[in-house]
Symmetry: C2
Subunit: 323 residues, 2 copies
C-alpha cells in the first residue's frame, strides 16, 4: 500500500494523539506504518478513581489499536458488560464514571504495576505487547500532569467536567497542572531524534483539551521542530463543527471561531501543514499555513486508512519540498 504514496517507506512517524478522534487516525496510520508508528498520548485526562489509576486517552488508543474498542458506543471496549457498576450502585458507591467489567481489568492491573514501581510507560508497553499492538504507544510524560477546567465559578478536574458535568459548564480557561515541572518521556525524545523519523502528525483530537497538554510538556515543541521535519496537523473541525466531543463548543466559549483557520492559527508556530476537510476548501484559502484538503470524516476502517494515506502523502510532499 505504501508504494503508491510519496512517503518514504523507510521512515518512521510520530503522531500526537488524544482520545477517540485522534485514535481513529492512529489506527489508519498503524495500518500503513505498522511498527514504524509511534503514538504519543495525552495524559492530562488521567485521574484516580475508586483507588485506581485511569488513563482515558491511553486506554482509548490501546483499545483502538488492538481492535478491542467499541465502535458503536465510541469509547471503551466491545462486548462490554456493566455488572460491576450495577453492583456498585447497590452497595452505595459512586457511579458518575462508568467502568465496564472488562475495562476495569486494565485499570486494576495498571494500578498494581504502578504501585510495584513500574513507570506508566513500562505498563503501557507491557499491555501493548499483550494486546499485540504493532505501533508503540508512549505517554507524553510519566510525571503527574492534570488538565483542569476553570469555569469562572469553579475549578474542575477534567473528568468531572467532561463526564460528570457532560461538558456543560462554560469554559473560561484550561490549564495543565504539573506540566511546567513534568519531564518529557525520554522515549519520545529518542523517537523525535531518530534518524529514521520522516514526519510528525498531530491527530484530529481536541487541540485545547487533548493536544495542548501534550505540547505543555517542556521541551517537546523544540524537539518537534529541531530536525526541520514536516509537522502536519489534521483539523478536527468540519463545517464549523467537531465530529466528536466538545471542541467547537469550547472554541465558542473561548471566543475562537470554530474553523480550521482557527486551528491553523492555534498551531501556527508548530505546523508546516494543515489537512482540512474538503467541504471547507473555500474557507481554507486564507489560512496562513500550507493546506491540503481531503475527506476527514472517519466512519470506518477504510476511511481511516484513506485519511492516514492522505496525511502521510501530504507530509511526504512537504518533506520533499514539493509544496
Amino acid at each position: 500500500m505504501l508504494s503508491n504514496i510519496p512517503f518514504d517507506p523507510s521512515k518512521t512517524v510520530v503522531a500526537l494523539c488524544g482520545g477517540v478522534g485522534g485514535a481513529k487516525l492512529a489506527l489508519g496510520l498503524q495500518h500503513l506504518l505498522e511498527e514504524r508508528l509511534t503514538v504519543v498520548v495525552n495524559v492530562g485526562d488521567d485521574f484516580e478513581h475508586k483507588g485506581l489509576r485511569i488513563c482515558p486517552d491511553l486506554d482509548t488508543v490501546l483499545y483502538t489499536l488492538s481492535g478491542l474498542n467499541d465502535e458503536a458506543r465510541g469509547w471503551g471496549r466491545s462486548d462490554e458488560t456493566w455488572n460491576f457498576m450495577e453492583a456498585t450502585k447497590q452497595v452505595g458507591g459512586e457511579c458518575w464514571f462508568a467502568l465496564g467489567d472488562r475495562d476495569l481489568a486494565l485499570h486494576v492491573e495498571r494500578t498494581l504495576r504502578l504501585a510495584d514501581g513500574a513507570t506508566l510507560t513500562e505498563v503501557i508497553a507491557e499491555i501493548s505487547q499483550r494486546l499485540r499492538i504493532k505501533a508503540r504507544i508512549f505517554p507524553v510524560t510519566d510525571d503527574r500532569l492534570r488538565t483542569k477546567v476553570e469555569t469562572g465559578t469553579e475549578m474542575l478536574d477534567f473528568q468531572r467536567y467532561f463526564v460528570e458535568r457532560r461538558c456543560e459548564p462554560v469554559v473560561q480557561r484550561i490549564f495543565f497542572e504539573g506540566a511546567d515541572i513534568s519531564r518529557l518521556n525520554p522515549l519520545v525524545s529518542e523517537e523525535l531524534s531518530s534518524e529514521r523519523l520522516g514526519a510528525i502528525i498531530i491527530c484530529p483530537s481536541n487541540p485545547y483539551l487533548s493536544i495542548d497538554p501534550i505540547l505543555a510538556v517542556p521541551g517537546i515543541r523544540n524537539e518537534m521542530k529541531r530536525r526541520g521535519l514536516p509537522v502536519v496537523a489534521v483539523s478536527p473541525i468540519i463545517a464549523g463543527r467537531a465530529i466528536k466531543g466538545p471542541t467547537a463548543k469550547i472554541m465558542d466559549e473561548l471566543r475562537i471561531k470554530p474553523t480550521s483557520g482557527s486551528i491553523a492559527q492555534h498551531y501556527s508556530s508548530l505546523i508546516d501543514g494543515l489537512l482540512v476537510d474538503h467541504v471547507d476548501a473555500e474557507d481554507a484559502t486564507d489560512i496562513a499555513t500550507t493546506v491540503h484538503t481531503a475527506p476527514t470524516l472517519m466512519t470506518d476502517l477504510e476511511s481511516r486508512i484513506r485519511l492516514a494515506r492522505e496525511t502521510l502523502a501530504f507530509a511526504g510532499r512537504l518533506a520533499a519540498g514539493q509544496i
Copy 2:
C-alpha cells in the same frame, strides 16, 4: 413460627459463623429471628488481593442473608459474570482467585471505605443496611487476624491454601496470626452481655478453619460462658464426611477421627449441647456433651429453617433445664 418452639421469642441469639455451611444455618435463623439474630463472622480468611480487601466469610454471609448468593455454585453472587477475570488474563494479571464482576464492587467499595478510615464493622453495617439484611453481621474483630496453614514444607496464607492450592497440601498445623493481640469487636461483647440474649449457636462451619479463628480472639470464650446461657454447636460432620469443604480431610491430616464425637471434644470446654445428624445417632451415644439428633443436611431454604428451628428448640430446652 416461633410460638410452637420452646425458645423464648423475646430472646436474641448470637451465632458464630464461617462461610458457606455456616451461612446456610444463619439464613434459617434469620428467617425465624429476624432482627434478633447477630452473626459473628470469621475474618481469618480475609486477605489483600489486587489492592483490594477481600473478606470471603463476611461476604458469603452478606450474600446469603440478602438472598444474593449463588445457590448452584455454592459461593459468590447469583447472576454473576466473569468478564473482569477474562480481561485480566488478557493483560497478564493474576487469575488464581476468581473475582466476579458483581462481587468486585463489594471489594472495591469496602477497600475505599476502609482507606477513608471506616472500621470493617462500620463498612459491613452500611452494606448490610443497603442490602436490607435483617440480622446484624459483625466481624469478630476489626484488627488484623490471618489464618495460616503450615504444611511441613510451607507456611501458606489461607486463601493460597484454600483456593490456589485447592486444600491439597497436607495440613500439619493451623494458626491465627495476630489473634493474640486482636481486640474483640465491642459490639460482639455488648451483644454477648445483653440481657435479651437467649442462646449462642456455633454454626456448622469448619471448626478448625472457620470457628477456631473466632474463638482465638482473646476474651470471647469468657464472654460466651460468663452468663451461663446455652452454647449449642451444630456438627458439620455427617456420616464421617463434611458436606462442603475440607473439614473431614483436615481432621484426617490432624489425626482426628472425622466424627461428631471429635467435634464435641473439640468444643468441649465451650458447648452445652451438640446437634448431630440423625444418621449418626448411634455413634452419638458416647459423646460427652448433651446431644440432640436431627437432619442437618441443608439443601434448600426449608431445610435451613427446619434445622434453625431444631437448634433453637434444643437451646431452649437446655436453657429451661429440661435436658
